[in-house]
Symmetry: C2
Subunit: 355 residues, 2 copies
Amino acid sequence: MILQNEIKMTNRTRIFPFLFLAVLLIFNSGCRSNDSKEQPVATSASVNDDPLPSWNETGHKKAIISFVEKITKEGSADFVPVAERIATFDNDGTLWSEQPMYFQFIFTFDRIKAMAPLHPEWKNKQPFKAALEGDYKLVMESGADAINALVMAVSQGYTSNEFAQIVKDWLETAKHPTTGKLYTEMVFQPMVELLEYLRANGFKTYIVSGGGVEFMRPFTEKAYGIPPEQVIGTSFKMKFEMQDGKPEIVQIPEVNFVNDNDGKPIGIFQYIGRRPIAAFGNSDGDLEMLQYTTSGSGLRFGALVHHTDAEREWAYDRKSPFGHLDKALDEAKAKGWTLIDMKNDWKIVYAFEMN
Amino acid sequence: MILQNEIKMTNRTRIFPFLFLAVLLIFNSGCRSNDSKEQPVATSASVNDDPLPSWNETGHKKAIISFVEKITKEGSADFVPVAERIATFDNDGTLWSEQPMYFQFIFTFDRIKAMAPLHPEWKNKQPFKAALEGDYKLVMESGADAINALVMAVSQGYTSNEFAQIVKDWLETAKHPTTGKLYTEMVFQPMVELLEYLRANGFKTYIVSGGGVEFMRPFTEKAYGIPPEQVIGTSFKMKFEMQDGKPEIVQIPEVNFVNDNDGKPIGIFQYIGRRPIAAFGNSDGDLEMLQYTTSGSGLRFGALVHHTDAEREWAYDRKSPFGHLDKALDEAKAKGWTLIDMKNDWKIVYAFEMN
């Protein structure tokens, strides 16, 4: 994700100037303090027979159900054995919101501030000084290595369990700057239902995200029903180390794998070893995953969540720095991938709308 | 495995001089041509109530069953939720034999010979020339890079499906040099039963091997009931590439990850994201995996398959180049890990003994 600058320039790396302008605007305006109840976000919206109750009765919902019915019908030409029912999902912008910036970025800035008392040297050391002073413009001008330094600083030195707890604590308390909701309340209820529906039909559901794997694993099981071993993401290198006689896995400040763009099908191959039969994304970072998935033999399903709802969520595609959707939008139209229209296809976006 | 020289010297890299002496002896004596029937190797030995019918009624069998009964007993202090029931298994020497050398090595030499007609340049290019002429001593003297070149040469340029088919074809026809059996007939029936028993009790079973992941995935589902996505191994780097308009994942001749020694717990963390509660190995290459597994909180199970049966399989430990078991043997005794005694604990070693 924000580490991929070390490998090559991609959409996500080009967004920083926009990001920090956005950050300035948001943080200067202060966070709303809407009280958000701690409600379960991953439960079904309904107990009736409709497997996708938060979806409107549009052609896209029918296309999903038709695909699942075909590949599960034994004896049919389209039948796919359970073992091969692999479905992969991008996370940011596909399973939860990604505006005004990837939630992991907000986490990183929050952590830098929270950790500052333990790092008095940060006051006089860039890019930490700038981050602490809210001078995001200066952080940006310092370049990709400086930004990577911030991201790595918030996870280095912790054991895996310790870092997971930090993420959990943040997710239980931090509020989104414009909705005032917990970040885990901003998962898309229709997509949670889709995940459950696929699993009920024998699918193994995976997250395949440019986000950091250690940031995602602490919450994906509760939010999406996806266990840690089915989360593929960008990762750091690790080392094995004895701490007080107990072996622990700790991070090395070096990028291991950037799971975005062509990294997505590569990650899928290295972790899963099979070509998925269905893939869901929302940006150009998902293009290669959808190409890889839909070009396998037999019936395949490729879909993009199109952010068309400025009222309930956000509306953006070709011009957005986050979730930039341009090339993949053209290819979706050319290849007949399903373009999930958030505004028209989804009865609700977030579970809290039901209250 | 044989690629890890690029990272550091480990047991497996020190064994090559021994290996090639062994190869010379074996290949010079010619392969036995015992006819081996193509029988299923992964079926249970019995349909009675005993979950481990190929195990003798020793303390080690009782220890395994006692562990499983304790961690599955709801309400008990030792209870472990299903999601956390992760068991990891080394492959070579733990789930199938590894003498007179790792079976993947035999595959590599066989493939170099089979591919030679398509590579006339190999006749005059080392280390291929030496490999083709059976001059393994010269291959060895050429060093680790030369050996890596052989291993990479047999998988480069193929799509993942193509390479998987090559492995499958080899496993269906190639015979072990001393037993004359198919290599997949040399899986350990007691361990296949153990895998099934653990899965029946809610475990996810993983292979965590120094072997190449692309060599293992084509046969682990049939042989052990372990799907490709639960096989963690040594891997090459990959690239995403369009071939006639179809996206494929193909190898780059560069090592991605060496899944041996401390690489095992690192691989476990990166792929699974949880500390296993049970781990099974047989050599010093498994030491860190067992340390990592058994040092977690709550009840844990660590075991080593000790090769003590010169008659039915092989007897070796501290002095063997393959499956070198020295430090881990001492630590097993010191820490009370279960030392599975092949000769005394196993009623049969291979399923074909039942015929």
